[in-house]
């Protein structure tokens, strides 16, 4: 019995080591492949350069960083309010039976392959933006034009893609708030709206923020869907209707045929993406710690 347990213990440990080591190896590999080109080209020129033309030997990735950040922020701006509102609706307003139906429908969204989202965006959303959204923008700025391949298209698709994460995690967090909180609030004469906004959401805060962080992680790393609908133009965008290229999209699209230096430059893009995601995660975790601490 004892030896049996020992074997199991060792196997579990091996699994843990393998998982940790693969992270370490991937990190080392990305940095090893990308750093030389970054150093050669100049770290500042690489990150702040505004021209990305690998064939011509120009590797400035600032437009790509701007593209990734603008699409991600756009997705969060659309996805967070929608997601939290949906979670509140499911947890507090809808009776449990229909709520279960709604919830499984939303979770089904997570099972759709991202390339399908991309194709949907390409044939439905992109023309819709060109035909219906553009005229609205033109009321304010007559000179604005768009092909539909835009930050907006990417943001809307990404918002839909991160909804399942935000909704199901937030809904769980809200449902997990002790019933006494709600009862006490109602007993004190607060109405339902006040109870939700002043008691339930603040109490579920840390769960909601975690869901947003996970959603953001997915939005930033998402490649295929965005690749098809943002136009992949490596320019700094001026409005939400402009085309942009993202860090992940550029890596995925150009890796297959790239020449050696170009390929190393793509690894360097990977380093930047890596650092951005680490920074965002760190900030987000610190925020959760601070907010979670005072919330309870």
């Amino acid at each position: 019995m004892k030896t049996y347990e020992k074997v199991i213990e060792k196997m579990i440990l091996l699994c843990a080591v393998a998982a940790t080591l693969s992270v370490a190896l991937i990190t080392v590999f990305i940095f090893q492949s990308g750093l030389p080109v970054m150093a050669d080209y100049g770290v500042f020129d690489f990150i702040a350069g505004t021209t990305w033309k690998p064939t011509n030997g120009q590797y400035g990735i600032f437009p790509l960083i701007a593209g990734t950040l603008s699409v991600t922020l756009g997705a969060l701006a659309i996805g967070i309010p929608t997601g939290i509102a949906c979670a509140v609706f499911l947890a507090e307003i809808l009776p449990p039976k229909p709520a279960r139906l709604f919830k499984s429908a939303i979770e089904l969204l997570a099972g759709i392959p991202s390339v399908v989202y991309g194709f949907f965006g390409l044939v439905v959303l992109v023309p819709a933006i060109r035909n219906y959204i553009l005229p609205v923008f033109q009321i304010f700025d007559p000179d604005i034009t768009t092909t539909g391949f835009s930050i907006l298209a990417g943001a809307v698709i990404l918002a839909i893609m991160i909804l399942p994460t935000i909704v199901s995690m937030s809904e769980n967090a809200i449902a997990a708030v002790p019933a006494e909180y709600k009862e006490a609030s109602l007993a004190l004469g607060a109405n339902k709206r006040e109870t939700i906004t002043k008691v339930l959401i603040p109490a579920a805060k840390s769960g909601i923020i975690s869901s947003v962080i996970l959603g953001m992680g997915r939005a930033i790393g998402e490649t295929m869907a965005v690749l098809l609908i943002t136009g992949n133009m490596a320019v700094i965008p001026g409005s939400v209707l402009d085309s942009v290229a993202t860090l992940t999209g550029t890596i995925a699209m150009e890796m297959s045929y790239a020449s050696p230096t170009h390929q190393q430059a793509l690894f360097a893009v990977g380093i930047v993406l890596f650092v951005i995601i680490m920074l965002l995660n760190l900030t987000a975790q610190l925020t959760v710690k601070r907010l979670g601490g005072e919330g309870k």
């Binding site: 440990l13 080591l21 030997g57 098809l228 133009m233 490596a234």
Partner: protein
């Protein structure tokens, strides 16, 4: 005791990972490959093909079909670019070199024979609603470098041109930019891709076709084999793109796929070449490119 065990397992895990890492690197280095067969009656051995990445997918498909009939011959397909195709013949590290362009004059001395195995045409396509149906190479170049930005400058309606292109490094983009001279060389001899930054970039032939089909006033380019009636193919210099006009050389945006070889061709490599030019091989070519026989 428990701590000691933990430590040991850690080291074991680390060692394992190191071994795995070494094995992976080993694989990466082992590309020198076997050269040619043994020349016996029953053909066997390895045929190494190196060169153009545009030819690579076709070579791989041909190799697969070839292996089905000649199980004893292994065909290894490597990339590296057309230049590498010549170089690997010169250095005798491959049996066949693959090129997606004509053999240059200065390269002819380095090889013994060349065989055109297929032709590839690039069709310039526009949205079906576009009024323009004929462009010159010069006009196409100016559109893609951003000198011409409105259809009215080439005889169409007054509408801005939406330029759609392929990603950097794509073989189709390489062929298109080279033939239309969007790709030029600076004084130092470095290649400069002059494609305007205001071009939508799509990562596949299908995505370009879909984009052009659904975006008014757009122009793009796709491999001739992928052409269908969701988009309108333009005449280039007055010649409509088709298999016949590419083969006759009248349609300008086309390129040959060539296998080059050295003085000595192993029997296995010769068998593969014969297979490629046979009806069966050319039928595989025809799935995506234009057969030569």
């Amino acid at each position: 005791m428990g701590r000691n065990l933990l430590k040991k397992t850690w080291i074991a895990g680390l060692a394992l990972a190191l071994i795995a890492g070494a094995a992976l690197t080993g694989c990466g280095n082992g590309t020198d490959g076997g050269n040619g067969g043994d020349g016996g009656d029953a053909l066997s051995g390895t045929v190494v093909i190196a060169g153009s990445t545009s030819v690579q997918p076709l070579s791989e498909e041909l190799a697969e079909a070839f292996s089905d009939v000649n199980g004893d011959i292994t065909v290894e397909v490597q990339g590296g670019g057309s230049g590498q195709g010549i170089k690997s013949i010169e250095d005798k590290i491959a049996d066949l070199g693959a090129l997606s362009r004509e053999v240059k004059e200065e390269e002819k001395a380095l090889i013994a024979a060349e065989t055109v195995i297929a032709k590839d045409g690039v069709a310039v396509v526009v949205n079906p609603d576009c009024g323009v149906s004929d462009l010159t190479l010069e006009q196409i170049r100016k559109i893609y470098t951003g000198e011409i930005t409105n259809w009215s400058e080439v005889g169409g309606n007054d509408a801005p041109i939406v330029v759609v292109t392929r990603e950097e490094g794509s073989g189709t983009r390489g062929a298109f930019t080279e033939i239309t001279k969007v790709l030029s060389k600076d004084e130092a001899g470095n290649e400069i891709d002059g494609t305007t930054t205001n071009a939508i970039v799509q990562g596949s032939t299908g995505a370009v076709k879909q984009t052009v089909a659904s975006t008014p006033d757009s122009i793009g380019y796709i491999s001739l084999g992928a052409l269908d009636d969701t988009v309108k193919a333009l005449n280039v210099e007055g010649v409509a793109p088709s298999n016949d006009t590419v083969l006759s050389g009248d349609y300008k945006i086309s390129r040959p796929f060539i296998y080059v070889s050295g003085e000595e061709v192993s029997p296995a490599a010769q068998a593969f070449l014969d297979f490629v030019l046979s009806d069966e091989g050319q039928a595989i070519v025809a799935q995506e490119f234009i057969p030569v026989n």
